[in-house]
């Protein structure tokens, strides 16, 4: 299992389009992907879940990957956060 903390860098937070990009990227991998924010834990491959996070710019999220390709999944997802979803 891989756990990493990330900070939302893009201005509009995790709104619809970045949320869609995130889900699309995570869904390419077999590994389970969970996002934890405060007391909420959601499936990172579910758009309705990610939308529910309401993660605005500056908020911190804990990402958890588990499965056969967890390294690759984590790398791809974390890159999205680091580049602020290219927004």
């Amino acid at each position: 299992m891989i756990e990493r903390e990330v900070t939302i860098k893009n201005r509009s937070g995790l709104h619809t389009r970045p949320a869609a990009t995130l889900v699309k990227t995570a869904s390419k991998y077999q590994s389970d992907f969970v996002i934890i924010k405060d007391d909420m834990e959601i499936n990172g491959k579910s758009i309705i879940g990610v939308m529910t996070l309401a993660a605005e710019q500056g908020s911190k999220l804990l990402l958890r990957f588990d499965g056969p390709d967890k390294e690759a999944a984590a790398a791809a997802v974390i890159e999205l956060f680091e580049h602020g979803f290219d927004e």
């Binding site: 709104h15 579910s46 309401a54």
Partner: protein, 595 residues
């Protein structure tokens, strides 16, 4: 009274009588069916093991249908309301494609053995509640989006059930009915429609009248008073709805129904007689139709032709606009059936409240994107339709009419499109009636004022009185707060009609009227007296209007018009007309059928 009877009386629910606006005549007694559209009610039900696969299947269908609807709306929204608003639908579509969500719902159905509606509403509702918890306006809006989506899926689940599972005869009770709802419901055996809101010219009202099903609109609170399964009487003559009627009440209405049916039989004898006044003046009396299914009824009612074919009826139930060929087949069938009489086909009058109110949410749809404005913005659709109509015109009994014309430029532009359509067909070596008659609807006050200019460009004018009156009097006929102010006998309306008729006659062209007013028993003699050459009416009232025309002389009608024009208030005009007709035709059930 025996003791047993007393007991029954006690347990029987109290009779409730509601008054609304009669929208379509007829009397029925039957079980109410509550059609809740706005916020569907979801009951929690346990599903038997063997039915679980079916529940999952229902979910898949409802999701597919919802996705189809949303994609259609998205396309429309992007085109007409801009990307910002379109995003709402985009987010909803993305959620519909959320495999994790859908799998969760399916698993829950199988595991918890509950009905799909319940699981959908519980699962999506969970997220909507979380979103509402955020201190962020944006998230609150997303929460509402999720609720909308949830309602759409549930509605599709319930409609599907409605279509396939409803048995027996029902009286539909709803808050408001869209044309699409009415369409779907009509696949069941419907004995009547009763709605909280709506006016007599709402589409559901027009539709029920053409199918001869009693309807009452503007009942206010019927959805709160009646429950599915309740016994109700619907009286579409007087606009009375009785919930839990006593046996005596049912007898009373059965007697009234018989009386009205006898009167209608009397009218049926006029079927093959012409609409000619007692002093030999011929009136062109034709019918309005929206659906090809109405054709046989129109013929049966003794109509000489179709004065208004609302072609947008073709669009109901289609995911796409029908092609030129598909439209041609339909138009040809209608023109053939009506031959040797004439059918006037109006090009798509979409927008306003007509087709899909959810497609383009305009602040002010009646002043918005509708009628010819839509046609000009979608020339591909417009040209397809014009070519299809031209191709169906080979027997020379088809005329074309443009809706919602405001200015003379629009008339000229529409004619250019028609020329282009003719040129296309020439090039394709396809036959059509080159001298096809062309007319415009006079329904915008600007067009009424400049009727003389417009008349110089076309072969006929047809007054669309529903819209003309609502624009003239600034009254939204579908808004029950003000719909009582929609009065067709206001002097402003009569003066405008007279002006349009004179303008047409001066140019040597004929003038007709195809709105609801034409089928109003009080209005018909007045309109003919004012000089209307043609009345095109809802099929259900046609025999009654014919009886009125045949019972009076043209001279009398001209006198009526003269007097009516000299009166100063709408109320006076109406009273004058009522008194006159009650004296001249005492048999006419005026008080009840007056719409």
């Amino acid at each position: 009274m025996s003791e047993e009877n007393v007991q029954t009386q006690k347990t029987m629910k109290k009779e409730i009588i509601l008054k609304g606006i009669p929208a379509s005549p007829g009397i029925s007694v039957g079980a109410a069916f509550l059609f809740a559209k706005e916020i569907p009610r979801v009951d929690e039900r346990t599903v038997r093991d063997e039915d679980l696969p079916h529940e999952v299947e229902r979910l898949e269908h409802a999701i597919q249908k919802s996705a189809k609807e949303l994609n259609k709306i998205l396309l429309f929204a992007q085109m007409k309301v801009g990307d910002a608003k379109a995003k709402i639908f985009e987010a909803q579509i993305m959620v519909l494609e959320d495999q994790v969500l859908i799998d969760t719902i399916k698993q829950r159905i199988r595991k918890e053995k509950k009905n799909t509606e319940y699981i959908v509403s519980d699962e999506i509702g969970k997220y909507a509640k979380l979103m509402m918890r955020a201190h962020d306006e944006y998230m609150h809006e997303r929460a509402h989006d999720m609720e909308d989506l949830q309602n759409r899926i549930i509605r599709n689940l319930q409609q599907e059930k409605l279509i396939s599972k409803l048995e027996g005869s029902i009286i539909v009770v709803a808050h408001i009915l869209t044309p699409a709802d009415t369409m779907i419901l009509s696949r069941n055996h419907v004995l009547g429609y009763a709605t909280d809101l709506g006016g007599t010219t709402s589409h559901a009202a027009l539709f029920s009248r053409s199918l001869k099903i009693p309807a009452i609109v503007a009942l206010g609170d019927v959805t709160r008073e009646a429950e599915t399964g309740d016994l109700v009487i619907i009286d579409g003559y007087s606009g009375t709805l009785v919930i839990h009627p006593t046996p005596e009440r049912i007898d009373e209405y059965e007697r009234k129904r018989e009386h009205m049916m006898r009167f209608e039989e009397e009218l049926a004898e006029l079927k093959d007689l012409p609409a000619v006044t007692s002093d030999g003046h011929n009136v062109e009396l034709s019918a309005n139709i929206e659906l090809p299914q109405e054709l046989e009824y129109v013929v049966l009612q003794g109509s000489r032709g179709v004065g208004l074919y609302r072609t947008e009826g073709l669009l109901i139930g289609w995911d796409d606009f029908p092609s030129e060929d598909e439209q041609y087949q339909e138009y040809k069938r209608i023109a053939d059936r009506i031959y040797p009489h004439r059918v006037i086909m109006r090009t798509f009058d979409i927008g306003g409240d007509k087709i899909a109110p959810e497609m383009a949410e305009e602040q002010n749809p009646f002043l918005g994107w509708r009628g010819i404005r839509v046609c000009f913005d979608r020339p591909d659709l417009f040209m397809n339709q014009l070519r299809a109509m031209l191709r169906a015109s080979t027997r020379k009994n088809l005329a074309i009419m443009f809706p919602m014309i405001t200015t003379i430029d629009e008339v000229r532009k529409a004619k250019e499109y028609l020329q282009q359509a003719k040129a296309d067909l020439h090039a394709r070596n396809v036959k059509f009636d080159d001298g096809i008659q062309l007319g415009v609807m006079i329904e915008v006050p600007a067009a009424a004022l400049t009727a003389a200019l417009i008349a110089a460009e076309v072969d006929f004018l047809s007054v669309g009185s529903n819209d003309l009156i609502q624009y003239l009097l600034a009254v939204d006929r579908g808004n029950s707060l003000v719909s009582a102010l929609y009065r067709e006998f206001e002097p402003a309306v009569l003066t405008t009609l007279k002006h349009v008729i004179n303008a047409g006659h001066k140019q040597g062209i004929w003038v007709g009227i195809c709105g609801e007013m034409a089928g109003h028993p009080l209005a018909a003699p007045l309109l003919i007296g004012l000089g209307m050459d043609e009345l095109s009416v809802v099929p259900v009232v046609l025999p009654e209007i014919k009886k009125i025309i045949r019972s009076l002389s043209h001279k009398q009608m001209q006198e009526i018009a003269k007097t009516a024009l000299s009166l100063t208030t709408g109320k006076e005009v109406e009273k004058y007309l009522r008194d006159f007709l009650m004296k001249a035709l005492p048999d006419l059930p005026l008080d009840d059928t007056t719409l």
